[in-house]
């Protein structure tokens, strides 16, 4: 987002509503009639109309004053699926409520709005709006605008708050493609040279007092005449690397590839594998867990065509799932 001077707190926007234009026109006509005829009762009516405009301006300012707004973004969003964005408004005035507030997104990539009938003094209220991202990637949010047409709907007064934010929208959910036999190459367990909770014997040692009796290797104990314990080998998880060559992919082809890659990542992680991603010029080491899934989907969400980038460098120890 480009740097922009902060919006001053005092700045307001005032626009006529349709009713306001008619009202002002009528006031003008009555003023003309009053001046022309010298009828003091028409001056009374004119005074009432003008005073109502002034009072309307004062009250609308009172409604907007000391109202803070903030946006609550979801932790994640997926293209094509509805995401809920919360708009929270807080009235910091000690006594006066605010009426008829409309909270709107201004600028940015997302349009949304919410409406509050009444915001009592010293209280906060939240409204939410739903939007369905049509694409993956970064969705920027710029300003939040608070507007009111209270009390009479003659004018709309609004105030903008700087609320820069961005939301990463993950790739659209699709069915993962069936695995090819070539892609299953280099599957299988590999020894992990460290002790753990596996089945294979890693090393023998003297049994320690207090250890679980099930760790005693009875054969060796009988041979040596003392209790011998066994350390098992750590079972290694299956490693998978999703490879995507974004040097040649762009446009709908890239989108389709990214969606497939995301589906493959999710499926592999669901099956308990450690998943990595190899793209042109960037790589995500295999790992597992919720945070890693988030990182993987984020990487895929932000993936762009890279025609000049070097070829993908997949993890040599992982099973490769190439996305074409």
């Amino acid at each position: 987002m480009s740097a922009r001077p902060p919006t001053p707190a005092w700045k307001r926007r005032l626009t006529f509503t349709r009713l306001g234009r008619w009202y002002t026109g009528l006031t003008f006509c009555i003023g003309l009639a009053a001046i022309n005829t010298g009828n003091n009762l028409l001056f009374l009516v004119l005074g009432l109309l003008l005073a109502s405009i002034v009072v309307s301006g004062i009250l609308s300012e009172q409604s907007l004053r000391m109202v803070r707004v903030e946006r609550r973004l979801p932790s994640g969003a997926t293209a094509g699926q509805p995401a809920l964005v919360g708009l929270m408004a807080r009235n910091e005035k000690p006594h006066a409520p605010s009426f008829s507030l409309e909270l709107r997104e201004k600028g940015g990539d997302v349009a949304g709005r919410g409406f509050l009938v009444l915001l009592p003094a010293g209280r906060a209220a939240e409204v939410a709006y739903q939007f369905v991202p049509s694409r993956r990637g970064v969705h920027r949010f710029d300003q939040l605008e608070v507007a009111t047409r209270a009390p009479f709907g003659l004018f709309e007064k609004s105030r903008r708050h700087d609320a820069l934010a961005e939301l990463i929208v993950f790739p659209r959910r699709v069915e993962p493609p069936p695995l090819q036999s070539r892609q299953l190459a280099r599957e299988g367990e590999r020894p992990e040279d460290r002790a753990g909770q596996g089945q294979e014997v890693h090393s023998l040692r003297d049994h320690r007092h207090g250890e679980d009796a099930r760790t005693i290797h009875w054969k060796s104990s009988a041979r040596h005449g003392r209790l011998i314990g066994v350390d098992r080998e750590q079972e290694r998880r299956r490693r998978v690397c999703v490879v995507i060559d974004n040097r040649v992919l762009h446009g709908p082809a890239l989108e389709a590839a990214v969606e497939k890659a995301a589906a493959l990542v999710e499926r592999a992680m669901d099956s308990g594998a450690e998943v990595g991603i190899a793209a042109c010029g960037e790589r995500l080491s295999p790992a597992s867990g919720e945070a890693h899934l988030h990182a993987a989907l984020t990487m895929l969400a932000l993936l762009q065509p890279a025609p000049r980038a070097p070829a993908p460098e997949p993890d040599p120890q992982a099973s490769l799932l190439e996305v074409a």
Binding site: A34, I35, T37, G47, A51, S52, S75, R90, E166, G281
Partner: protein
């Protein structure tokens, strides 16, 4: 703003409140128009019936029989337009009537936002029509009520349709039917808003410069209810009503003695010189324009200084006749020089010396009369002979069939006496020997003889008529004069002459002195005896009306200039006192300085408080701890990157930074999740992420190609 507990389940829904407010607005706009009395009985009756009917059946009738409504309105437009074109109907009145009919139509068609706003617009136009048609005090009350009801209607209409637009038809249904929105506190707050609007209206009313072009002024017309006619009929039946309606509002200069509650003054209108057999009629001859009243004869004796009377004559009572106070009128000046149509006010006089004004189209008339009071005693009138000019021959005419008893009585009272003494004798005889009563005698063959010899009681017209006939029978010119007698002091500072003060007395021609007034009605019976509660209420109402007229209806450029002068005088007086001139107290200056300092201190506190609240830290007071930690984490990461020689441009987002510096990827993910999402960021995780970044930066360069 929650409703009080006792209100739960009762009270009014938002939808009901909005509809009722609209109906009330229409009702008060209609009243503002109806008080003018010019709408006609049909329309006056139609609107409330339509309003009531729409309340019960409007929803069901919505959208039905539109052709009938269109036909009705089109027909009304044609009829009213034709009447206006034929100048049988004033254009403003025509517009007002058509607006009322449009309002009737709209009252039965209120559903959408457009319907409601059109309805309110028509109500406002109706109010403006009322302002153009009437200057009555009742308009003022209707205006006040309209201001409050209109504020409710506009605010609740806006709220209703904002909710419908913001939440859709299904989402808004619950709110519209809620009884917790249109609470007494909300309606009270809106009424307070209306009061603010009214105060603003008063300020604008007082300060808006009055520049009258007068192209479209409409003459206001009072409804004649009683008048100073050109004849008197002595053969009426019934009782004279004590009518408390105010006819004249009088301010005298020099003012009378403070505490004088009743002026006891004759207010002369017309002289009636021709005896009809059953009463009096004015002599023929149209009045002619004059620049000033006829000059008074030179009299001996000591004359008093001229006295001026500023008279506001209520519309409908004078009908062209100028009423003047006792004494000889020297000069007449009209306060509103131009009539409503722009024609200048003209003074006219007839041969009998009656004064008139023209044109008669304006409602109330305001004018000032300078007159010379010269209390001519009988001694001053005596000895002026009996040479009468031909112009008073009409005042010597005696009925041919005059009752002999009347002649005999006249002879007995006037034989050998000077005309002035004769008039005095007849006056004394009548006031002492006959009784006053408000009961009318009914039809009599000879009302004078019946009064003098049979009934021996009567009202003021009989007393004055008898005196005129008795004087004429003695060969002394005399005539009957009608007008008013009295003037009761009011709280507003003027003297009110009421319709029940109508009176009749006599003018006797004395050579060299002109027509001199005599009043044979017993002194205590002249004028009305208005002491009832109703009379006092009417008088009180009149004082309010007079103030309404003075401060609102007649507020003009002169009054504005006077107000500015008064304000200026107050300010200069305050300045003079503050500067120490004129013996002002120095304590006042000290007090004002202290007040000024207090105000300055209060302003300073306000400014500091505002500045404190607008600080970024305070603005983020409601951030969660995880969010604050995320912000701090990113700040520290940027600092660490800066130390490593990797500058992050202020406009670069964390995600973009992560793409350029892959080592920050994990940290940025955690930051985004905590800052904008609902993920947690414990302190130890933040420390871990920062230390991981440090290790990565120390290990190898991180910039992406």
């Amino acid at each position: 703003m929650s409703a009080p507990r006792f209100f739960a389940g009762r009270g009014i829904t938002l939808l009901q409140a909005q509809r009722w407010a609209g109906s009330l607005t229409a009702l008060f706009a209609y009243l503002a128009c109806a008080v003018s009395g010019e709408l006609g009985p049909a329309l006056v009756a139609l609107f409330p019936v339509a309003l009531l009917g729409a309340h019960f059946f409007g929803e069901r009738a919505y959208g039905k029989m539109e052709w009938a409504w269109t036909l009705f309105l089109a027909g009304a437009l044609v009829v009213l337009g034709a009447e206006v074109a034929a100048t049988r109907l004033d254009v403003v009145l025509g517009v007002a009537r058509f607006t009322l009919l449009l309002c009737v139509h709209r009252v039965w068609h209120r559903r959408t936002q457009r319907d409601e706003l059109l309805f309110l617009l028509l109500c406002l136009l109706l109010l403006c029509a009322g302002a153009a048609l009437s200057a009555e005090l009742l308009f003022g009350f209707s205006f006040l009520a309209f201001a409050v009801a209109g504020t409710w209607a506009l605010a609740l209409t806006h709220l209703r349709f904002e909710i419908e637009a913001g939440r859709g038809p299904q989402g808004s249904a619950a709110l519209l039917q809620s009884r917790r929105i249109a609470t007494p506190s909300l309606l009270g707050a809106l009424a307070a808003l209306a009061m603010m609007g009214l105060m603003g209206s008063a300020v604008i009313f007082l300060t808006f410069p009055r520049v009258n072009i007068g192209l479209l002024r409409r003459p206001s017309r009072g409804t004649p209810t009683a008048g100073l006619g050109d004849r008197v009929d002595l053969s009426r039946h019934g009782t004279i009503a004590d009518d408390p309606r105010v006819v004249l509002r009088v301010r005298l200069e020099p003012p009378p003695h403070p505490g004088l509650s009743n002026l006891g003054t004759h207010w002369r209108a017309r002289a009636l010189e021709v005896w009809t057999g059953q009463g009096w009629a004015a002599a023929g001859g149209a009045p002619l324009p004059v620049t000033r009243p006829p000059p008074r004869p030179k009299l001996g004796g000591r004359g008093g200084p001229p006295q001026s009377a500023t008279i506001d004559a209520v519309a409908g009572f004078l009908e062209g006749v100028l009423v003047t106070p006792e004494g000889w009128p020297l000069r007449v000046e009209f306060h509103r020089q131009l009539s409503a149509r722009g024609a200048p006010q003209r003074l006219l006089a007839n041969a009998a010396g009656d004064l008139f004004y023209s044109p008669v189209e304006i409602g109330d008339l305001s004018y000032q009369v300078w007159s010379e009071r010269n209390d001519l005693g009988v001694s001053l009138l005596r000895g002026r002979g009996q040479e009468y000019p031909a112009s008073v021959d009409i005042d010597l005419e005696v009925p041919a069939d005059l009752d002999p008893r009347v002649r005999e009585l006249s002879r007995r009272l006037t034989a050998g006496k000077d005309p002035a003494d004769a008039a005095d004798a007849i006056e004394s005889y009548l006031s002492s020997n006959l009784k006053y009563t408000r009961d009318l005698p009914g039809e009599q063959a000879d009302p004078i003889a019946h009064f003098l010899f049979e009934r021996r009681m009567g009202h003021c017209e009989l007393f004055s008529s008898a005196m005129v006939i008795l004087l004429r029978a003695a060969g002394i010119p005399a005539r009957n004069v009608t007008g008013y007698y009295g003037g009761v002091h009011t709280d507003a500072g003027y003297y009110a002459v009421r319709a029940g003060d109508a009176h009749s007395w006599v003018e006797v021609f004395i050579p060299g002195a002109g027509f001199v007034p005599f009043d044979p009605t017993p002194a205590g019976e002249r004028g009305s005896q208005q002491e009832s509660l109703w009379a006092r209420t009417v008088l009180f109402w009149d004082t309010i009306q007079e103030r309404w007229r003075a401060f609102v209806v007649d507020y003009d450029l002169v009054a504005q200039a006077q107000l500015v002068k008064q304000v200026g005088a107050m300010l200069s007086e305050a300045g003079r006192r503050l500067s120490g001139k004129g013996g002002s107290a120095p304590q006042l200056r000290i007090a004002l300085r202290a007040l000024g300092l207090l105000l300055l201190a209060a302003l300073l506190v306000l400014v500091i408080r505002r500045a404190a609240l607008s600080r970024p830290g305070v603005r983020r007071a409601f951030l969660r701890p995880d969010q604050k930690r995320a912000i701090q984490l990113w700040r520290e990461a940027r600092a660490r990157l800066h130390q490593a020689g990797l500058e992050i441009h202020p406009g670069t987002t964390p995600t973009e930074a992560a793409r350029n510096v892959p080592a920050t990827g994990q940290l940025v993910s955690a930051y985004l999740a905590a800052r904008w999402g609902s993920a947690r960021l414990p302190p130890e995780k933040a420390r871990y992420l920062l230390s991981t970044l440090n290790r990565a930066l120390e290990a190898k360069p991180q910039t992406r190609a």
